[in-house]
Symmetry: C2
Subunit: 312 residues, 2 copies
C-alpha cells in the first residue's frame, strides 16, 4: 500500500511512518519542516519538502496513493491570539488543499488528526463523539472544527472514506512541544522553582504516541462508514500538579511552584478535557500505558535526546 503522510517528520507522523514501513508499506512523506525534525524520519520514507499551501506542488505527490494521513498542522493552541492567521492558513486552507489534491488524483481515503479541543467547554464529561454542538473557545479548536467539516463534506460530495481522530495531548518518543518539555527544560536549568500557568488544577488527558498509532491503524482497518469519528485518549485524566509530581519525582527535584493563577493557563484554555473513548475501544483497541507511565516515558526520551530541547 502507498501511504501519504503530511507532517511526516513530526512527532506523530514519524512514529506512524515507522509503523507503516515496518509492515512493508511505501510511505510518501510531506513536511515543510516548520516544526518537523529530519532526525525523526527513516531514510526509506519518500520525503518531499513542500508546503501544503502550495496546491500545484503537492497534487502530483498524491498520484497512485491508497490513503492519506493528514497530520500537518499548527499545533500551538496557546498562541492563537498572537498570530490569528496561522490556524486559518496551516489548519483550514492546508486541509482544503489536501482534500483538493485527493479529489484531483482520485484518492478516496483520509485519516485526520483533530483534537478534543473541538468540544470547547464540553457540557458532558467524559465527552462522547456526538456531544452537543460545540461553541469554540480557541482559534486552534475553530480551525480543527473547520477542517473536520470540510473533510466530512468532501466525503459526502466525492465519495471519500474519512477517519477523523479527536486526540487528547500525545506523549512519548519524539515529543517536541508541550508541558512536559517546558517543565523538564525549566527544571534542568533551575530545579529550585517552576512557573506554572494557571492554578495547576486544570484537568487534562494524555495518550502515549504508540497507543495513538495503533488506534489509528485499527480504526482504518475496521471502520468503514463514509465519515468515521473517534475520540482517542485513555480512560483517565490528571491535574497539572499530578504531572508536575511525576516529573519532579523522577528527576528527584523539589522546586517551589509559582502559579500564575486562575483556572485557565491561557485565553481559550480548556480547564477540563476528558474524552469518552468507548467507540474506539469497541473496535478492540486499548492503551498500553497510563498517563503517568506516558509522562515518565516522555521525560526519559527528553533525557536521552536533549537536542530536542534546543530546537524551534
Amino acid at each position: 500500500m502507498r501511504v501519504l503522510i503530511t507532517g511526516a517528520a513530526g512527532f506523530i507522523g514519524s512514529n506512524l511512518a515507522d509503523r507503516y514501513l515496518k509492515d512493508g508499506h511505501t510511505v510518501i512523506g510531506i513536511d515543510n519542516f516548520s516544526t518537523g525534525q529530519r532526525e525523526f524520519l527513516a531514510p526509506s520514507v519518500d520525503l518531499h519538502e513542500v508546503d501544503l499551501l502550495n496546491l500545484q506542488a503537492i497534487v502530483p505527490l498524491f498520484e497512485g496513493v491508497d490513503q492519506v494521513i493528514h497530520l500537518a498542522a499548527n499545533a500551538d493552541v496557546r498562541f492563537g491570539p498572537d498570530h490569528p492567521d496561522r490556524d486559518l492558513q496551516q489548519n483550514v486552507i492546508a486541509t482544503w488543499n489536501v482534500l483538493e489534491a485527493m479529489r484531483r488524483t482520485n484518492v478516496k481515503r483520509i485519516a485526520f488528526s483533530s483534537t478534543g479541543s473541538v468540544y470547547g467547554e464540553a457540557p458532558v464529561i467524559p465527552t462522547p463523539e456526538d456531544a452537543g454542538f460545540p461553541v469554540q473557545t480557541s482559534l486552534y479548536g475553530a480551525s480543527k472544527v473547520s477542517a473536520e467539516a470540510m473533510i466530512s463534506a468532501y466525503a459526502e460530495s466525492f465519495a471519500f472514506e474519512a477517519h477523523i481522530f479527536r486526540f487528547v495531548s500525545i506523549l512519548g518518543e519524539r515529543y517536541t512541544h508541550g508541558h512536559v518539555l517546558d517543565f523538564y527544560k525549566s527544571l534542568r536549568a533551575d530545579p529550585s522553582q517552576l512557573r506554572v500557568l494557571g492554578n495547576g488544577k486544570q484537568r487534562k488527558s494524555y495518550l502515549y504516541v504508540r497507543d495513538c498509532v495503533e488506534a489509528i491503524l485499527i480504526a482504518l482497518d475496521k471502520a468503514k462508514d463514509k465519515v468515521n469519528i473517534f475520540n482517542l485518549g485513555t480512560d483517565e485524566y490528571c491535574q497539572v500538579t499530578d504531572s508536575i509530581g511525576w516529573i519532579t519525582g523522577y528527576m528527584n527535584v523539589a522546586p517551589k511552584l509559582n502559579f500564575t493563577g486562575g483556572d485557565r493557563g491561557w485565553i481559550g484554555d480548556n480547564p477540563f478535557i476528558f474524552l469518552d473513548t468507548k467507540r474506539i475501544r469497541s473496535l478492540g483497541w486499548q492503551p498500553s500505558l497510563t498517563i503517568q507511565q506516558a509522562v515518565i516515558k516522555t521525560v526519559q526520551y527528553l533525557e536521552q535526546n536533549a537536542w530536542v530541547l534546543e530546537r524551534r
Copy 2:
C-alpha cells in the same frame, strides 16, 4: 449608530439596510456585486464596491463602526461540488477577513448569517441550537460551520460580542434565487410542465425576510452573551409539493410535474429541515407571515419585478 453591512446589496442585506436607515442609523455597505443588485440599495447607504477577500482594502471601512452585520457569502448550496473552492474563499476566508478587520479597528460586535444546514442531517427535529455535534453533508454547511467556529473563537480571544443566526431559507421582497424563482420562471415560460428535483417530498422551512430582519434586530438588542446563537424560522415546514401547489394555484396553471426522483434534490441536499425557534421566541419575537403567505408574497414580488428573473 454606524452599522457596517457586508453583502449590503443582497436580498437580506438591502432589507436590513432599509430598516437601519429608517431608524436613523448610518449604514456602510460592502458588496462585490457578485450577486447583489444596485437597484436594491437606498442612495443613502455609504456603499463600497470591494471584495472581502481584499483585507487591506476593507480594513479602513471598519474604522469607527459600532456593529458589523456579515451577510456576504456564497449561498449556492446545490452547486458546491462543481466549484469546491468557492465556499472556502467566499464563506471561510472572507469571514476571517471580516474578523481581522474588526480586530484591527477595535470593532467588537458582529451579527452573522449562518444556516440551518450546519446541523447536517439533524438527529432531532425540530432541531434546537444545542443539537448533537453535526457531521457536515455539504460544502456550504461546512463553510458556515467553519465561519461560526472562527467567530466564536474571536469572541473568546478578543472580547467580541457575536450573534450567530442559523436561517432557514428566506423569502419575500428582493428574493433573487431559490426554488420559488426557479419554479415561477419555468412556469412563466411553459405552464404545461414543471421539472422538480427529487421526489418533491423534501420537507423544508422558510421565513419571510422582514420577519428575519426583525429577529436580528431584537436579538442584537436583547442578547448580551459573548456568543449568542439563534435559529430563525417559523414553527412549521412544508413539502416541496405544497409550495408548488401554492405557486401554481396563485398563477392559475396546472403543470404536469416531472420529478427527477430520489429523496434528495442534489448531493448533500437535506431532506428535512425544521428548526426549533424557542430561543428567539423567548425574546418576544414572532413571525408575521406563514410559509404559505411568504411564498405568495415572493411570487407577487417576482411578478412586479420581472427584471430579477433575468439577472445572474
